[in-house]
């Protein structure tokens, strides 16, 4: 398949090789992160007047799904501020390469590897989402806890263990980066095979060996390998969307779980936040109440039993219809590739449904970030109620249809025959119609 190497252009290569441009971007995001925490803790309690809510849940969360992942894969991870302080400690300096600083450097326990904890973390965020998304103070406490946890873990474990195994957003971006149009790959396999030192692996904060990279799920595009390769044998490529999906890529059961958690979460979030059911919203909000426990029970039953059950049924049928029979576990992991384009397009449609309505809050909150009555840009108080337009509704329909085309193609690509693909297409169709109904029904 066609690839365009961005690193063939000397200026782009210099930009990636130097640690400064990336450091400047990360310094800006870290400053924004700290300011967001302070705003959440000490600013207005009214969410729509506090930068913590508007920037985290409207601007950043939207940008991640509408821009960073679809056009850059895990590009957000390359400028994410959360692992920065811990990495500085691990490296013994701000612009130093990996591993000459503090920390015990232990290996992450084998039993906890994979994306299981990331998926569980995402489920937890969903269970408490109605409070986290609406309370600036809770948002700030969550962000503070995450960065403290990332620092502590970087002092105990080697490399970016927090990003690799715990960060729910890392799980989200990693899963969908597989279909993103950016990848880091070696240029010439033979050159790598002859190089015995493996400087790229030693330098990688993510613990990846570029020669073995078949998927972009675990590559955070930090460029460290590219910086230390003595043979200039690494490239950043633009590639067709969906390149990591197919018959020759490896997919684990943990990825299937992550994919199912994501599609379940987008359905539940759409019902809670976009739907007209006030009792459901209150149940999701009143943590600790009987209603909340009922909500949790329904959410978990749906996310961990009903939806996996339906997908498991589709997978079982597809496996049965094929000539090459494989174990159910392997089939579940293999066919979970269908969930990737389906989930990504679902999240994009969901994001459009609320971000287009609430985006009007961004300018006023920049003008008055703490909600203390400032008017730095003269735009304070200009936010209207916001409303979904016929354009945004049409866009949601089109995005979900693209997801349906894409997941059908993937189902067809990874199946031996049309008959084998049908159960997966039916599952995709049921998900798409359900989400369509929740968003525009």
């Amino acid at each position: 398949m066609t690839r365009i190497s961005l690193t063939q252009f000397p200026r782009v290569m210099n930009l990636f090789r130097s640690r400064w441009p990336q450091f400047i971007l990360r310094a800006i995001t870290l400053a924004g992160f700290i300011f967001t925490i302070l705003a959440g803790l000490f600013g207005s309690v009214v969410g729509s007047h506090n930068v913590a809510i508007i920037f985290v849940w409207i601007a950043w969360w939207t940008a991640l799904k509408l821009f960073f992942i679809p056009f850059g894969g895990r590009s957000w991870c390359s400028i994410c501020p959360i692992p920065m302080p811990g990495e500085w400690l691990q490296n013994g300096g701000i612009l130093e390469p990996r591993g000459k600083g503090f920390g015990l450097g232990k290996r992450w326990p084998k039993v906890l590897r994979g994306t299981w904890l990331q998926a569980s973390g995402f489920l937890l965020v969903g269970l408490f989402g109605a409070v986290t998304l609406t309370s600036a103070k809770v948002t700030a406490i969550v962000l503070l806890s995450i960065i403290i946890l990332a620092i502590i873990l970087s002092l105990i474990f080697e490399r970016r263990s927090f990003c690799n195994y715990l960060c729910p957003i890392g799980g989200f971006t990693g899963l969908y980066a597989q279909v993103g149009p950016v990848e880091l790959r070696v240029k010439d396999i033979d050159i790598c095979a002859q190089h015995t030192e493996k400087t790229c692996y030693d330098a990688c904060p993510w613990g990846q060996y570029p020669l073995a990279l078949k998927s972009s799920a675990n590559c955070g595009l930090c460029m460290e390998c590219l910086r230390v390769c003595p043979s200039d044998n690494l490239a950043i490529n633009l590639r067709p969307w969906g390149s990591d999906l197919g018959t020759n890529t490896k997919h684990g059961l943990d990825e299937a779980f992550l994919g199912l958690v994501m599609v379940a979460s987008v359905l539940v979030d759409s019902a809670v936040f976009i739907g007209p059911w006030g009792k459901l919203k209150l149940a999701a909000y009143n943590i600790g109440s009987t209603e909340w426990f009922v909500y949790v029970a329904i959410f978990l039953t749906f996310g961990l039993i009903i939806l996996p059950g339906l997908f498991g049924g589709s997978t079982w049928l597809s496996n049965r219809f094929g000539k090459l029979k494989t174990s159910f576990r392997k089939a579940l992991a293999y066919y979970s590739q269908v969930l990737v384009p389906l989930g990504l397009m679902g999240w994009i449609a969901f994001t459009i449904s609320f971000a287009f309505v609430k985006f009007a809050y961004v300018l006023p909150v920049i003008s008055d970030p703490l909600g203390l009555g400032w008017n730095l840009l003269g735009t304070t108080g200009n936010a209207g109620v916001g409303q979904s337009t016929s354009f945004s509704l049409l866009l949601q329909v089109l995005i979900l249809s693209v997801g349906m085309v894409w997941s059908t193609r993937v189902a067809r690509r990874i199946s031996e025959s049309m008959k084998q693909a049908i159960p997966l297409i039916v599952f995709s169709g049921a998900f798409t119609v359900s989400l369509l109904w929740l968003l525009i029904g």
């Binding site: 007209p276 090459l324 409303q387 249809s401 059908t408 067809r412 119609v433 525009i440 029904g441």
Partner: protein
């Protein structure tokens, strides 16, 4: 043997792709925008009472027919709430325990969310109700587009690859 014809074959497949894209684009436009005659019922006057309290509207789902003259009597039972209707220039505000009324003609078929327009607490951004004017044609069009998407997904994949080896 066919080597001299390769540029022609490439050109022809490029034209074929352009044709396919054009056909799909036309089909999408037809599905999304083709006018569908709706069996019209005689417009009536509808008086609807909506209560707002604890981040919810009650009733939160309202159905009217296209052309109906709808009067909303809006009451708040706790703090100040507002009711702003997407797609219509319609907004009401009600103080605690008080009502406000206004009418509009439901002349735009479709599904419209109404939202609280006065900051009323943490869940305010998600205090949402739904007005349905006639049948939800966009949902029906969306389902038809979904079926077309399946056809395109299958049609655009014309290679058979042996699976199950990963």
């Amino acid at each position: 043997m066919l080597e001299p014809l390769q540029p022609l074959i490439r050109l022809s497949s490029r034209y074929s792709l352009i044709w396919k894209i054009c056909i799909i684009a036309i089909a999408v436009i037809v599905i999304l925008f083709l006018p569908i005659p709706i069996s019209s019922q005689t417009p009536v006057e509808k008086h609807i009472k909506i209560e707002a309290g604890r981040f919810q509207f009650s009733p939160s789902e309202i159905t009217v027919n296209p052309g109906d003259q709808v009067t909303i009597e809006f009451t708040s039972i706790d703090v100040v709430h507002g009711l702003s209707l997407d797609g219509y220039n319609f907004e009401l505000k009600a103080d605690p325990g008080k009502s406000a009324s206004q009418s509009f003609i439901a002349d735009k078929p479709g599904i419209y969310r109404f939202r609280c327009s006065v900051v009323c607490g943490n869940l305010h951004p998600f205090m949402i109700g739904k007005l349905q004017v006639g049948p939800n044609l966009l949902f029906i069009r969306g389902i038809v587009l979904g079926l077309l998407a399946v056809v395109i997904g299958i049609w655009s994949f014309n290679k058979t690859i042996n699976p199950g080896n990963s």
